[in-house]
Amino acid sequence: MSPSPRLWRMRCAEVIASGGVLALAAGTAAGLTAGPGAAAAAVAVVIAGSLGALSFARNRFRSWAYTERDEDLIVERGVMIRRLSVVPYGRMQFVDVSAGPVDRMFRLATVKLHTAAAASDARIPGLEREEAARLRDRLAALGEAKAAGL
């Protein structure tokens, strides 16, 4: 399974909002100091940068995937550096569900699995709230059922 399509929309909104603010600032600054030609160039550069960021965000969004197996959870992510984590339910210490202000606007949440090892990273961002709650409850139940001592 993969994160909600709303995560992609959220990333788009983030890039567009920050790109717009940046374009406005750069355009105004260049326009005041070096004339309208420079302003247009600055805005064009910012727009090109935003498009680049969007394509990267697109790839990144597509790279997220998670699979709930019988005994463990598999999380895949990364564009440049590909990462794949296998975390057995029995090794889970606790589950974190977090949602920042922007996440909440898009009704999304991030689920994170913690094990006793600091290095294990099993984080799934951009889950719809219901899915996050379902996953959290399922993980907690499985973790309890299959719990193993240290």
Binding site: D72, M80, R83, T115, A116, A117, S120, A148
Partner: protein
């Protein structure tokens, strides 16, 4: 044994009455010495004892006495309970089954008074959580025996089982190893000094002035290392590996073998002429003062410096199962890791994973598959181009992991699946033979499988044999 310590209701016991003296002792003595110094006029002229010179030591002493007065403990069935706190009562229950390690710590002052501190470590517990400071030495030893017996599911009245000394570190070798390590640092400093001298002779004068300080610092580093690791003795006993060390203050640690999360062997470059190595074990617990959330591992030296033969004997105790044969990564990995390729190797079998990494010094890490927390595959851009990937096997702790570095891509993919499946089986097998699950003196359940023709068999005693005789 501990009944003489007072506090009778419901089996609650107090710490030893001299504890406040020892706990506050060092600080109070230092402050008093300073005060005495300033009174006698040696401290710079401002003679006369001011009231504020007294306040701090008195406050510390009073706090220590109050702390002693409100602290009590008892062993209540399967838990050790410690209550403390004057205003905010703090009641801790430490489940004995979850003990990761038991330490007996005797600072110099406590040792003079025949006292000892008992430290019980649980996974993820704070440093101060399981501390009983101080008990009389026999009481502390008896309590440790009781906790460990209960931990192994035996009758708490079982006496402490006999131990067999596996190895001890001679003082000469200890000092030598510390000196060599310091010499390495000194060589770097010297090189810097030469560079400075070439660039500007004036700088050399400044540097010469600080040489004394460098020597003092070096001597202090060596002294610290030697005094804490002095008379390092490792012994095997049915309740775990016992480590004793220390010159002025001594520490006695007991690590139940099934609590070992990972073992690491480090072979520094400068020790190579002597074929020395260092062994460390990772035990789930708390690393010390820098308290972050979650469980971290405590890294304990199993052998500060020793020969390969000694290391092998100790490893046989910590990891009783047969070892897998490591294999080398493909040759093209040389492009990705030119500086460490010469060491890289890794292998696994059904119960144990072994990985060798390192650039200048060789790190060999063993992780029992039953202790694996998660399996990760990481592939960077360069690795993708070369068709390589690195598989990490994480054990509990911050940095405890075996790294199957730079394996072929397809091999790494199947390795992740294999390791996850094997870990699952190992975990289930371990859960079946866990001492807590069997709950009772069942001789041989936790015993390592006998390996004939192996000299280590004489070192690893049959588990529970001492108890069933008793």
């Amino acid at each position: 044994m501990t009944t003489g310590l007072g506090g009778g209701d419901g089996g609650w016991r107090r710490l030893h009455p001299l504890s406040p003296l020892v706990r506050s002792g060092r600080g109070v003595l230092a402050v008093l010495a300073l005060a005495g110094l300033s009174t006698s006029g040696l401290g710079g002229g401002s003679a006369g004892l001011h009231w504020y010179d007294i306040v701090l030591p008195v406050a510390v002493a009073v706090a220590a006495v109050v702390n002693w007065f409100v602290t009590r403990w008892k062993v209540d069935g399967a838990t050790l309970r410690i209550e403390t706190g004057l205003l905010r009562r703090d009641s801790r229950q430490l489940p004995i089954a979850r003990i990761q390690a038991v330490d007996l710590v005797r600072p110099f002052l406590a040792r003079m008074l025949g006292l000892a501190e008992l430290r019980v470590r649980l996974a993820g517990s704070g440093d101060a959580d399981g501390r009983l400071a101080y008990l009389t030495e026999p009481a502390a030893v008896a309590l440790r025996a009781r906790l460990l017996a209960a931990h192994h599911g035996l009758d708490p009245a079982t006496p402490e089982p006999a131990e067999q000394i596996v190895t001890s570190v001679p003082v000469g070798r200890l000092v030598g190893s510390a000196a060599i390590s310091t010499v390495a640092v000194a060589a770097v400093v010297m090189a810097v000094a030469v560079v400075i001298a070439v660039v500007s002779p004036a700088g050399l004068v400044v540097l010469a002035g600080s040489v004394v300080w460098w020597l003092v610092i070096g001597a202090m580093v060596i002294w610290r290392h030697v005094s804490t690791q002095y008379a390092f003795t490792v012994a095997a006993s049915p309740d775990g590996v016992r480590i004793r060390r220390g010159l002025l203050g001594t520490v006695a640690e007991t690590i139940p073998v099934q609590r070992v999360q990972a073992v690491r062997m480090i072979e520094p470059l400068l020790w190579r002429p002597f074929h020395w190595c260092r062994l460390e074990v990772d035990v789930a617990g708390h690393p010390g003062r820098d308290s972050a959330e979650g469980t971290h591992s405590v890294r304990k030296a199993l052998l500060p410096v020793g020969s390969p033969e000694e290391a092998r004997r100790l490893l046989r105790i910590a990891l009783p199962d047969a070892w897998p044969e490591p294999t080398r990564p493909p040759r093209r990995a040389r492009w990705k890791a030119p500086l460490s390729y010469h060491f890289l190797a890794a292998g696994h079998d059904g119960t144990l994973a072994l990985a060798v990494t390192g650039r200048v010094r060789r790190h060999t890490t063993w992780v029992p598959l039953a202790k694996t927390q998660s399996v990760r595959l990481v592939q960077g851009p360069l690795q993708r181009r070369l068709g390589l990937a690195t598989v990490h096997l994480d054990a509990a702790g911050r940095r405890a992991h075996a790294e199957f570095a730079e394996r072929g891509q397809d091999e790494a993919r199947s390795l992740v699946g294999d390791l996850a499946a094997l870990s699952r089986h190992a975990r289930k097998a371990a859960a079946l033979s866990a001492p807590v699950a069997t709950a009772g003196p069942a001789p041989g359940t936790t015993a390592p499988p006998p390996r004939d023709g192996d000299q280590a068999a004489s070192v690893a005693p049959p588990v529970n044999a001492a108890q069933s005789e008793a």
